[in-house]
Amino acid sequence: MEFDALLLSRLQFAFTIAFHILFPAFTIGLAAFLAVLEGLWLWTKRDAFKVLYLFWVKIFALSFGMGVVSGIVLSYQFGTNWSEFIRLTGGVIGPLLAFEVLTAFFLEASFLGVMLFGWRKVGPKLHFTATCLVAIGTSISAFWILSANSWMQTPQGFEIMADGRFQATDFMQVIFNPSFPSRLVHMLLAAFLTTGLVVGAASAYRVLKERNGPAVTGWNESRISLVMAVGLVAVLAPLQLLAGHWSGEVAHEHQPSKTAAIEGYWETRADQPLNLFGIPDRDAQKNHFEVSIPGVGNAIQNVPKDQVIQGLDAWPREDQPPPFIPFFGFRIMVGLGLLMIALGGVGAILIWRRRLFDSPWFLRFCVAMGPSGFLAVLAGWMVTEVGRQPWLVYGVLRTRDAVSPVATAEVATSLIAYITVYSIVFTAGALFILRLMAEGPVAALAEPAPRQDRAPGSALAKAPEDTTPGEGV
């Protein structure tokens, strides 16, 4: 393996996007959670919802900031490292990225300011509107970026002009390409699950801690958020299994080489087995230490037993994706997904039996599952992106033909610089977030916030003493 500009650019993209995806995966769900909390607070006037809002909005602000700065890197990296990709396909994929900026980034960035700093400046309903707009913005952003990424997986609605550049023939086909609906649903569910698992872990940690202190009888903040989180996981985790299966079916239809890599199929044949384990070996073109169940592979893919499913031998070697990462990434993702379903199912039973807060083993399980959403998201993205190789745009543009004409030393420099900066920034950010979580919702009350005299009963802030109130539009 030669460390040339191509390989280093791939490593750099993988590194920077892996860090970036963690934050949207968390903030998409967290923004919606905050909107729900603020809505419940306005509606029920219960203080607990206000405290929860004030607590989680701090974690949101930290995460969102890190998501913003790591996202800008990506929007410039397309040019610095993958300039041929943009030169050739910019006329097709560019509008999708531009619409993301126009419809989502401005909305999020502008109303985030009101959400974080507008307590004393706007009324409660307007503040709630700002929270909702930020939440909507994060989902719109997911819409466009998933559309662009899905087009790279299942391109359609374009033609290649005489000079090699791409031109759209139908933008509706570009945007709503075959893999887009299933991948958007899969990603949004993943984001909500990730948030639910983090909120659940932080809340379970506090509930566990409180077991050692003075007895808690009623519904304090951590108990409320724990039930909300476990309930969310109970509903969404099984749905995610279906969404993932849907996404897999689309891949099977449109990207058969990816499916073959995921399943570890080398041989094209009918009646494929289900490979549970193995070490895919590209040189030997087979799996070592294979553990498989014969006769059920076709059923998993939803096709009749006598139908032929392609194995990797259907493609010349230079067109095969490297199977190792898709094969294991997929199994890690599915394994974590099954654990999430277990968490939701057991949690739902415990809630129903009113035993949730008295089951330390389950609370510890919730804490342990805190990072599982992030891990599953990373594993899933590696499956889908490595599974697309050797193509950047599946079947049309190879990754190696898309790289910028830059020197290897330049890419090595930038990769080292990113690793250094990201290590500092994201270590610090993670520590700040973990510190807040360890303190729990009381942290919300310890800091300057809407003043006490106007909080109870009403909502966020009305600011009678402020001399420059901006009462809205």
Partner: protein, 343 residues
């Protein structure tokens, strides 16, 4: 039939101008951070921009994303050409951006570190943007629609001069912004910073203007100078363009004169005018090139159907963006003092 490439060139130029003006004062506040007297002063300085910086920075994402979408050829030539300065800018933007939250969350040593990162990140970003601008104006080497120069083409005495000018210019914007947004002793400091930066900007802008004439024969002839054989001036070409430096002089006068008369707002308007004049001067120099002096904006344009689709969307969305951006500035209008709490 609409001239789509021309409209898009105008839209992207506007986005970049808005970015430079809006994030310019954010970065300027960061550049001035080391000169503040106390933690409380730095808190207030940061609080004047905390609610709006993220929206301001988004214009940079629109500038980059818009260039990618509307002029993919220019984007794919410029980014590899400016690889290292873009890297420096992104590193600076990361450190500056997270410092808003981190400085507030950190304790003791950590706060000191993130204070330094906020200032350092802002200065690095400004320097890098100056190098990018300088490297852009002096032109890039292109062959077969691809960048074909070396990794350090952007590093010349000229680009260093432009970088110094951008740092001084952002400091001026930041100082004038703080004059408008603060009171008492901090306001007095801001006034001093503004006047010092204005002097630096006046000198550097003049130096950059003269140096730019020597960067490429095209620029000299665009301004009516013939520097090839001795020195000749074509007045009919030069005369109408003199309105641009005149605008700059008015801006400079607004900054200095009105600051001395005790105005809190006019210096900021003057600083914006000064930036507008510099921007127009450069735009007049390199139009119609979008990757000087190899690719024009027409050669780089995306297919018409892509430009048309984006224009339809932009026509609806951009007024909304401008509307709610103005509303956010309205909500956070007025002076900021130590009382203005975070979150």
């Amino acid at each position: 039939m609409l001239d789509l490439p021309l409209i898009w060139a105008g839209l992207i130029a506007t986005a970049v101008l808005l970015y430079v003006m809006l994030d310019g004062f954010d970065l300027g506040v960061g550049i001035l951070f080391p000169f503040a007297k106390s933690k409380e002063e730095r808190d207030v300085m940061m609080n004047t921009i905390a609610p709006v910086w993220d929206g301001n920075e988004t214009w940079l994402v629109l500038g980059g994303g818009g260039l990618l979408a509307a002029f993919p050829l220019a984007y794919s030539v410029l980014m590899p050409a400016l690889y290292l300065p873009v890297l420096l800018m992104l590193a600076g933007l990361i450190l500056r951006g997270v410092a808003f939250e981190f400085r507030f969350r950190a304790r003791n040593r950590g706060r000191k570190f993130w204070t330094q990162m906020f200032a350092g990140g802002s200065i690095l970003t400004a320097l890098a943007q100056g190098l990018i601008l300088g490297g852009f104006i002096q032109g890039v080497t292109v062959q077969d629609h691809r960048f074909a120069g070396g990794p350090f083409d952007w590093l010349t005495p000229y680009t260093l001069l432009v970088a110094a000018g951008i740092v001084a210019g952002y400091a001026l914007l930041g100082g004038a912004w703080l004059m408008m947004k603060t009171k008492d002793s901090l306001h007095g400091d801001a006034k001093r910073w503004t006047l010092i930066s204005a002097a630096a900007v006046g000198g550097l802008l003049a130096a950059v203007s003269v140096a730019t004439l020597f960067i490429h024969p095209r620029i000299a002839s665009r301004w009516g100078f013939d520097l090839g054989s001795g020195f000749a001036v074509d007045w009919p070409t030069l005369a109408p363009l003199l309105a641009i430096p005149a605008l700059g002089l008015i801006g400079l006068w607004l900054v200095v004169g009105m600051a001395r008369r005790g105005s809190h707002r006019w210096p900021f308007a003057g600083a914006l005018l000064l930036f507008l004049s510099g921007y127009l001067g450069l735009a007049a120099s390199f139009m119609p090139y979008i990757a000087p002096y190899a690719v024009t904006f027409r050669q780089a344009a995306a297919p018409d159907n892509a430009l048309g689709l984006m224009l339809a969307g932009t026509a609806v969305i951009l007024p909304a963006i401008l509307g709610y951006t103005a509303w956010v500035y309205w909500v956070f209008r007025g002076k900021v003092d130590t009382e203005a709490g975070y979150h």
